[in-house]
């Protein structure tokens, strides 16, 4: 059997799984974010939070709720990190350094899950479970809430800038979507061999008579939400490359499926919320198209293995697990960078030069193909608004998306959104490779050193969380820089998205006609895809040229 057959086979399995489950989950999601009913358990949560879930919030109030809730999350995690040695189940871990604790707190609250530390060595079970895992749930729910609010804004029939209730969205996202899915996923993962226990470190004598420390723990439960919530923070340092997290090719496919499930379902749910299924289908198509291209290119890059080292070794297997192979690693790599997951089952630093470039480009797309849970949808919708503005003019009408006019104020918000990530990323990379402390963290010099720094800054600014392992990021400089990138990269765009949701909610709906630019046809799908590629390409090609492109061409 050729190598290609299993590579295509696993993709086929994935496509079938997604095709079956995405529309079902989407229907559920659309109900979750539009239904007026509350569950009993949710009412308890609202009472505990002292909020009225039926208040329709103004976008400003919604945004303040998002920011306030997230701030509390950062402070709590930071406190955990600094005080964990005093808490039970610490497994003897000591307090995290101030900068490391900040970076970790921000990282998990922003759904990035950048890990500068080695999870099994630095953190106790309590912090993992009640701190990080909780944030794995709620940070994902926050992203979904913002996307749902944006969709409701577009579906709004005019009047006020009210876009729903954040706390209701948050609680429902956790209670009705993430918890049940994660529960089932965790059970399945346990079933196929992922570890789930509360044992501490166990010393094992290996065949060569050396002593190896094996850390057990509640791995499967964290693994489920790690993928489902596109979080990516692994229980173990080597993440999904670790056999306790991802033991078999089957678990590999399942994990890839889990990380793609909600982002795609959100896109389909969007169509249902705006009461035009075709719109959701169009957005989903763009995501799928970009992901397909990315998977194809990365699989090609890893299987063909261009470059001196892979050619000498007869294959690009450095940093990859034999049980996954090049194709299984490439599929995971593309999926994890195209969603904002950042979990890895191979060492991205060891990807071939073009492969590394593709994973970076995936993240630079702004995590929209299909992106993080929620953030992927609103990111893609913002790009759709840009596309509509440019293309809409070409049909001779002032641009409108789903019946909402894109005027001066709307475009200001879109422009801010489009600016902010490049601003953070490009400033970040300039600082990182200029400051001595930044350069000190790089394993290599020259183009690959640049790639390491670029990957880190890109991953943080786009809230992905995966890394080129060559970078030593556990230093005050990198922790601070990447913490800032993650924080601004997550919340500034969110504020602009919510503001735009408010503007759209206030507008009356303009019914579409023959003269309106249709935003559900293949032509628009192609256009939106091109806009995403061209905008990202024009912004990042120069810096990519000196990193992965030079590496690939030399």
């Amino acid at each position: 059997m050729s190598e290609l057959a299993p590579a295509l086979g696993q993709i086929l399995v994935l496509v079938v799984l997604l095709a079956v489950s995405v529309p079902r989950l989407a229907r559920h999601l659309a109900r979750v974010y539009t239904s007026p009913k509350h569950l009993a358990v949710e009412r308890v949560a609202y009472r505990a939070l002292r909020v009225d879930p039926d208040t329709d919030q103004h976008w400003r109030s919604y945004a303040m709720s998002v920011l306030g809730f997230s701030l509390v999350g950062v402070l709590l995690l930071h406190a955990y990190g600094r005080l964990q040695q005093h808490l039970p189940l610490s497994l003897g871990s000591s307090a995290l350094p101030a900068d490391g604790s900040w970076s970790t707190a921000v990282s998990f609250v922003t759904n990035t899950n950048w890990q500068w530390y080695s999870g099994e060595a630095a953190l106790g079970h309590l912090m993992q479970m009640s701190g990080l895992t909780v944030q794995n749930f709620v940070s994902a729910a926050v992203g979904m809430a913002v996307a749902a609010a944006f969709a409701r804004g577009l579906a709004g029939t005019g009047g006020e800038e009210r876009i729903g209730n954040f706390f209701a969205d948050l609680v429902r996202g956790v209670v009705r979507v993430l918890l049940p899915l994660a529960f089932v996923a965790a059970l399945v993962l346990v079933l196929i061999g992922v570890v789930q226990n509360f044992t501490g470190n166990a010393d094992i004598r290996t065949l060569s008579d050396a002593t190896q420390v094996l850390t057990g723990g509640p791995v499967a439960s964290q693994e489920a939400i790690k993928e489902l919530g596109t979080n990516g923070g692994g229980f173990y340092n080597v993440n999904s490359a670790h056999p306790f997290e991802n033991p078999t090719p089957l678990s590999n496919i399942l994990e890839i499926y889990l990380l793609l499930l909600i982002p795609f379902a959100m896109a389909w749910a969007f169509g249902l919320i705006v009461r035009d299924r075709r719109q959701g289908a169009a957005v989903l198509s763009v995501m799928a198209l970009l992901l397909t291209v990315s998977v194809g290119l990365l699989t090609w890059a890893e299987m063909a293995g261009p470059g001196t080292a892979p050619e000498l070794a007869g294959g690009a297997m450095e940093g990859k697990e034999v049980r996954f192979g090049t194709a299984g690693s490439a599929l995971f790599g593309a999926a994890t960078t195209a969603t904002s997951t950042g979990a890895v089952n191979s060492m991205h630093d060891s990807l071939t030069a073009p492969g590394g470039g593709i994973t970076m480009f995936n993240m630079m797309l702004g995590e929209v193909a299909p992106g993080g849970v929620g953030s992927g949808l609103y990111g893609m919708l913002m790009l759709a608004v840009v596309t509509v503005f440019l293309a809409g003019l070409m049909v001779g009408r002032t641009p409108e998306y789903l019946g909402k006019k894109i005027g001066q104020r709307e475009i200001v918000l879109v422009a801010c959104y489009v600016l902010v990530t490049p601003f953070i990323l490009l400033t970040g990379i300039a600082v990182a490779i200029t400051a001595g402390d930044g350069l000190a963290g790089l394993q290599e010099s020259g183009p690959h050193g640049l790639s390491e720094a670029l990957y880190a800054v890109t991953s943080a600014s786009n809230n992905n969380g995966s890394a080129f392992g060559g970078l030593t990021s556990g230093t005050p400089f990198w922790n601070t820089l990447l913490g800032l990138c993650m924080l601004f990269g997550r919340f500034l765009p969110m504020v602009f998205v919510l503001a735009l949701a408010g503007r759209f909610a206030r507008q009356h709906h303009v019914p579409p006609g023959t003269g309106t630019l249709p935003t559900h046809r293949p032509l628009f799908v192609g256009l939106l895809t091109s806009v995403a590629l061209v905008m990202v390409g024009l912004t990042y090609i120069p810096v990519l040229a000196l990193g992965p492109i030079v590496e690939s061409l030399s």
Partner: protein, 704 residues
């Protein structure tokens, strides 16, 4: 006001035949272009301001560290800014020419101004012997008194203070029947531009020059105080954001290049920045806006605001008056339908007699029809008869001959007249006549009933003249186009529903509002707007004013009343209601031009990267030479070629910006497909070709 019904000379030319960019125009525009280099003026276009700052920077760099490349790049950066200001200046120049021709028309009328105090003269002098002096109408001030005799044009708005005259106000009201204007009472106001048909009046002028309608138009056309339109501002914001991103790209590239051991000079980085930011659309954006207004002026439409022009592109519903827009203003006699017992010749003769002295188009068409179809009755002689004029109360007209009276008019009116002579109100004849009337109405025609009374006997009904509304030629095609563009057309008419539906069917409009009162019109507009649709309409009467101001695009006919013109946001000098369709097309074209050039501009960047990036880094990383897919001869030549291309493309596109991109009415999908192909794909490919060609030339320059 005086000469408004005369087309402005330059404006009368169809847009296509006027050369868009002549050397003369450029020469005239140059001083303005240099004035616009002032950074304070450029501040409104951030893209070009960045280019200018870049040009200043490279100038300083070239002075400090002179090099051939440095000076050439500097020169071309300055040219880039200059080409952009030139485009705006040329566009403005065209508006200025329009304004000048409008202004020239104002001075063309001469007025006979009364010398001395009229109040003293009026008691001593005969009206015909007033001492007058000929002055240009533009010199008239409020309070001046002028004498206007038969055949002369009233030189300005004013009131009659002496005399009585019949005045042709068709230029203002569209009503061709002359009206009586006399001193005292409420029929004393006269409007500039109207013509005195008989007698002579003394008029006191009530408006100063500079205050009149035309003066306001001139100010708008010249556009010195041009307000940028909402969409233009929005696009500018987006272009500003793109510019900011590229500034970030270039700044970060400085540090990244430094890290990579391929330190770049500020000169090269500036050149890269200017090539990347959307200078093409940034430089042409205001020219496109000005030219859009100008295209309207060329079609003799004056827009009170650019906002209205943009709104025209968004129109979803077009309200069109039936008469004059959908149909020719005049109804034509199409056939004669006698009742049984009356010969066709008898009806023809009566119809002819009653119409011989009838100078209305309908009357003339009856004469023509009878002369053509019934040779036998041509000798009918109406002399000696007395004409009975049409009046709104009797709703009939006719002719009283010795011993014979003929009436024609609306069915009910004529029936009443017949009945008044003692004829029974209902009989077999009236039933038959009602059937005929109904038949004509159903086909969209207007039935004109003819009756006669011989001697003092009972009058009898003769039959019906079928007056037909003639739908203008080509209207169906235009409405089909509208439909393709997604615009719904609604015909408004005072006719009854049956007639209206028949004409709507024939003309191919989508919908019809029959027996419409001005209030109905207003309600319809409000209803459409409540559904989120944009409405355009045209109108001319005072009772159209509320609807005109409610509509998103309200085109007032220049012949309309002042109230109508005040209420609308555009005025059509030709008073051609079908122009509304062109206005919509111009609005769309304006937006399409912006979108097309933006797409073109952004698509250009891809080729520029392929030119400049290898040029910058090929020394440090020879592998990057693989990206030099255009095989440009040297790094210096590559950078300069990109900069020169970037500047020249602005000049090359000035005519397109002024003319607007080609627009064929079709659905949004078709338009998008075509424009993406031309401007997206074209924008992708063109610079590869252009930069390569420029490189072939530039590589010959010594020192590069």
């Amino acid at each position: 006001m005086t000469a408004l019904t005369v087309k402005p000379k330059a404006g009368a030319k169809p847009a296509g035949t006027t050369s868009l960019l002549t050397p003369g125009q450029l020469r005239e525009a140059l001083p303005g272009a240099f004035r616009k280099l002032d950074p304070r003026e450029l501040a409104s276009t951030p893209v070009m301001l960045v280019v200018e700052i870049g040009a200043v920077a490279t100038t300083v760099l070239s002075v400090v560290d002179p090099s051939t490349l440095g000076w050439l790049v500097t020169a071309w950066l300055w040219l880039t800014v200059l080409f952009a200001t030139l485009a705006e200046s040329v566009a403005e120049g065209r508006g200025k020419a329009q304004a000048a021709s409008l202004r020239a028309l104002q001075t063309e009328t001469t007025a006979r101004k009364v010398r001395g105090s009229f109040d003293q003269l009026r008691n001593t002098t005969n009206l015909a012997d007033l001492p007058t002096a000929e002055v240009p109408s533009t010199q008239l001030r409020t309070g001046d008194v002028v004498v206007v005799a038969a055949g002369e044009r009233i030189p300005g708005d004013g009131e009659v203070i002496e005399g009585v005259a019949s005045v042709d106000e068709s230029a203002v009201t569209g009503e061709s029947a002359p009206v009586i204007r006399e001193s005292g009472g409420d029929r004393s106001a006269v409007t500039g531009g109207t013509v005195v048909l008989s007698d002579q009046v003394v008029v006191r002028i009530t408006s100063d020059p500079g205050q009149s309608f035309v003066d306001r138009m001139i100010a708008l056309v010249e556009g010195s105080e041009r307000q940028r339109t909402p969409n233009e501002i929005a696009l500018n914001v987006l272009l500003g954001a793109l510019t900011f991103v590229f500034v970030m790209v270039v700044v970060s590239l400085y540090f990244v290049a430094d890290y990579s051991g391929a330190k770049q000079s500020l000169l090269v980085l500036t050149a890269l920045l200017v090539c990347l930011i959307p200078t093409t659309i940034g430089g042409l954006l205001s020219a496109i806006g000005i030219a859009g207004m100008d295209r309207l002026v060329r079609r003799n439409v004056l827009a009170m605001s650019g906002r209205a022009v943009e709104a025209a592109g968004d129109v979803d519903v077009l309200l069109l008056d039936k008469t004059g827009t959908v149909t020719l203003g005049n109804r034509q006699a199409a056939e004669l339908l006698p009742v049984s017992g009356v010969s066709a010749a008898r009806l023809a003769e009566a119809a002819l007699l009653s119409s011989l002295a009838d100078e209305t188009p309908e009357g003339r068409s009856i004469v023509a029809l009878v002369r053509q179809d019934f040779n036998t009755v041509t000798e009918a002689d109406g002399s000696g008869g007395e004409l009975v004029a049409f009046s709104a109360s009797t709703r009939m007209s006719g002719l009283d001959l010795p011993g014979r009276r003929i009436r024609k008019g609306a069915g009910s009116a004529v029936a009443r007249w017949v009945h008044s002579t003692g004829t029974p109100a209902t009989s077999e004849v009236t039933v038959e006549l009602d059937a005929l009337v109904d038949r004509v109405s159903r086909t969209g025609g207007t039935p004109l009933v003819v009756a006669e009374q011989v001697g003092a006997g009972r009058a009898r009904l003769l039959g019906v003249v079928h007056l037909k509304d003639i739908v203008k030629e080509g209207m169906r095609e235009r409405f089909d186009e509208m439909r393709a563009m997604g615009i719904r057309t609604v015909m408004i008419t005072g006719d009854n529903a049956v007639t209206a539906a028949a004409i709507a069917e024939e003309a191919g409009v989508d919908d019809v509002l029959a027996e419409a009162t001005p209030e109905d019109k207003l309600d319809l507009i409000r209803k459409e707007q409540a559904g989120g649709r944009m409405v355009a309409m045209c109108g001319d009467g005072t009772n159209d004013a509320p609807a005109l101001s409610q509509a998103d695009v309200g085109v007032a006919m220049n012949t309309g009343t002042a109230a109508a013109k005040e209420a609308g946001n555009m005025v059509d000098l030709d008073s051609d209601p079908t122009k509304l369709i062109e206005v919509v097309e111009i609005g769309k074209q304006l937006l399409i031009t912006r979108g097309a050039l933006t797409t073109f501009s952004v698509a250009n960047d891809i080729a520029k990267y392929f030119a400049i990036l290898p040029a910058m880094f090929v020394v440090a990383y020879p592998g990057l030479d693989d990206l030099n897919i255009m095989r440009l001869s040297s790094p210096e030549s590559a950078i300069l070629s990109a900069v020169v291309f970037n500047a020249l493309v602005i000049v090359a596109l000035i005519p397109l910006a002024l003319r607007g991109v080609r627009y064929t009415p079709s659905s949004a999908s078709d338009l998008l497909r075509r424009n993406i192909l031309v401007y997206g794909l074209g924008g992708l490919v063109a610079p590869f070709v252009g930069i390569k060609l420029l490189d072939l030339v530039i590589s010959l320059v010594p020192g590069i």
